[in-house]
């Protein structure tokens, strides 16, 4: 595949759909979480309001260049991840910019935003930011591990690193999904997914009651707005990767919405039930429970 200018509007369209869906989806998830606590929860459009408000804050401060750039890195990471992976299978329009690289690109580009964000948070000089980053990095070292193993397993299984081809291999029947052809890998990856969603029990990174909210402690107004934007794009971009790799991808938007919802819901489901882990506990948890699954997955392929 090669770059064509038409890809730009198509990608922007994808972005537009995903941002709106993400805003609604995250609100919906919060509402569902609230319902578990027998509350009504926020209005479904609340995320739009918050976003507008944060862009509308009149004043802001900056601690330095990296602080300023942190949210830019963050959002670039989210948008880039979304665009490097084909959103809809078989659609020329919504293959985005996936010509630039394969699965490995997506796998590593996940860290782009986190790294930039960590640097920005670091420059704020706030100890809680640094503590949050320390926790986040510690946790991610083991949380991402089962996912990496699972990706390796299914790459071996399908003998390709191209996302499109992996999705293609899963077409035809539900039983062709990786979920059923390689359940170990999917199990490992989904545990890893829990660790990457910053929801309980793995949300000690933000830990609002303890270290204000970790890395973004100093971020506000439009910085925060950028990060909020990312917060609706990034999980979906990540879920798109999961969906493509494990759940047969999506050929139409309704299927896409449904699958993304269900995968997102999985983390919420676990989150409302379990209390928070400390960092060393979650590190051990991933090593003890998720890692063996991942190892088994690559051994049996």
């Amino acid at each position: 595949m090669q770059f064509e200018w038409i890809m730009v509007p198509y990608s922007l369209l994808t972005l537009f759909i995903v941002v709106n869906y993400g805003l609604l989806l995250t609100a919906l998830m919060q509402k569902i979480g609230a319902r578990v606590g027998r509350r009504h929860g926020i209005p479904i459009w609340q995320n739009y309001v918050d976003l507008i408000k944060n862009y509308g804050i009149r004043s802001s401060i900056t601690h330095g260049v990296m602080f300023y750039l942190g949210p830019v890195f963050r959002l670039t990471g989210g948008v880039g991840l979304l665009l490097f992976v084909p959103t809809l299978y078989g659609s020329e329009m919504f293959s985005n910019l996936s010509f630039a690289g394969d699965l490995i690109l997506a796998l590593y580009f996940i860290f782009f935003g986190s790294l930039g964000m960590a640097l920005g948070a670091g420059e704020s000089g706030h100890p809680h930011s640094a503590i949050g980053v320390s926790r986040g990095l510690s946790q991610v070292t083991t949380a991402e591990l089962p996912f990496a193993l699972a990706v390796f397993a299914i790459a071996l299984q399908y003998q390709t690193l191209s996302v499109t081809e992996i999705v293609a291999a899963q077409q035809g029947s539900v039983w062709n999904w990786t979920l059923f052809t390689n359940p170990l890998a999917v199990a490992a990856a989904m545990l890893s997914f829990l660790g990457s969603m910053m929801r309980p029990p793995f949300d000690v990174v933000l830990a609002p009651q303890e270290i204000p909210i970790g890395p973004p402690t100093e971020y506000h107004s439009s910085y925060l707005a950028l990060m909020q934007t990312n917060r609706v794009i990034f999980p979906i971009a990540k879920i798109v990767v999961y969906m493509n790799l494990f759940f047969g991808g999506a050929a139409t938007w309704p299927v896409f919405f449904l699958k993304v919802f269900l995968i997102y819901f999985f983390s919420l489901f676990v989150g409302v039930v379990f209390p928070r882990f400390r960092v060393e506990q979650s590190v051990r948890w991933f090593l003890v429970w998720a890692l063996p699954l991942g190892i088994a997955a690559i051994l049996v392929v």
Partner: protein
């Protein structure tokens, strides 16, 4: 060493005064100017209050856009009240029920933020001793414009039952620009919800410009604040 420091202070225009003011109330040792030796042997004075903190004052932040956009923003601000989770007095206990299923303030777009940077509503939940006032001012200044202050309970209005205390302020609006008072000792959560609703109306009407008021009358507020806070060991405006 000490003499040199004195000399250096004397040479500055407001040096003697500052040193004089330092003598009244003992300043924490960490805040005193001190000689520091760099890694290559150069020596210089570090004045923590000057060097560690931004000295700029607040400025009036005018609505930057056309009327219609400002209205949109005001609507968004009203519908998205992020409360700074800082319980200053006994009224803090009245805020917790708002998060529970019974009152569930979240449905009105109200939520609590752990850091002043991200909050735009400061609820002064009860009496303020001088010591707490200092923290409240600092937190308020660290919030971003526009920002709103709600005084909760009679203590913030006229001192309440602490009207004759040696250590409690009696009028919050002398020190911070209050947008709204909620009466009671203490007001019930329902009263709070009502108060927030009133606040929303003010915001939507563009009448909640406390932050700009604070910036405009900064000297007056500062003077009031400094009158009661005798050990003012921070910059005038805590960014």
């Amino acid at each position: 060493m000490k003499d040199e420091l004195d000399k250096r202070l004397d040479n500055q225009p407001d040096g003697p005064e500052r040193r004089g003011s330092l003598k009244d109330i003992p300043v924490r040792e960490e805040l005193l100017p001190r000689w520091v030796k760099g890694p290559e042997g150069q020596e210089y004075v570090v004045e923590p209050l000057q060097d560690y903190f931004c000295q700029a004052g607040p400025t009036v932040q005018t609505p930057a856009y056309t009327r219609i956009i400002e209205d949109l923003f005001n609507w968004a601000r009203a519908e998205s009240l992020w409360i700074l989770g800082f319980g200053t007095g006994c009224g803090a206990i009245e805020m917790r029920p708002l998060m529970t299923p019974r009152f569930d303030a979240y449905r009105y777009g109200i939520q609590w933020r752990p850091t002043p940077r991200q909050a735009n509503l400061f609820v002064i939940s009860g009496y303020l001793s001088v010591k707490t006032l200092k923290r409240a001012i600092r937190s308020y200044e660290q919030m971003q414009n526009p920002k709103y202050v709600v005084g909760l309970g009679s203590c913030t209005i006229n001192g309440g039952m602490y009207w004759d205390s040696y250590n409690t302020i009696k009028r919050l609006d002398d020190y911070l620009p209050v947008d709204l008072y909620i009466t009671g000792c203490m007001p019930r959560p329902e009263a709070l919800l009502q108060g927030f609703d009133d606040l929303k109306k003010l915001i939507r009407a563009g009448k909640a410009e406390g932050a700009n008021h604070y910036a405009e009358h900064f000297d007056w507020y500062k003077a009031n604040q400094k009158r009661v806070i005798k050990d003012w060991d921070m910059p005038d405006y805590s960014w």
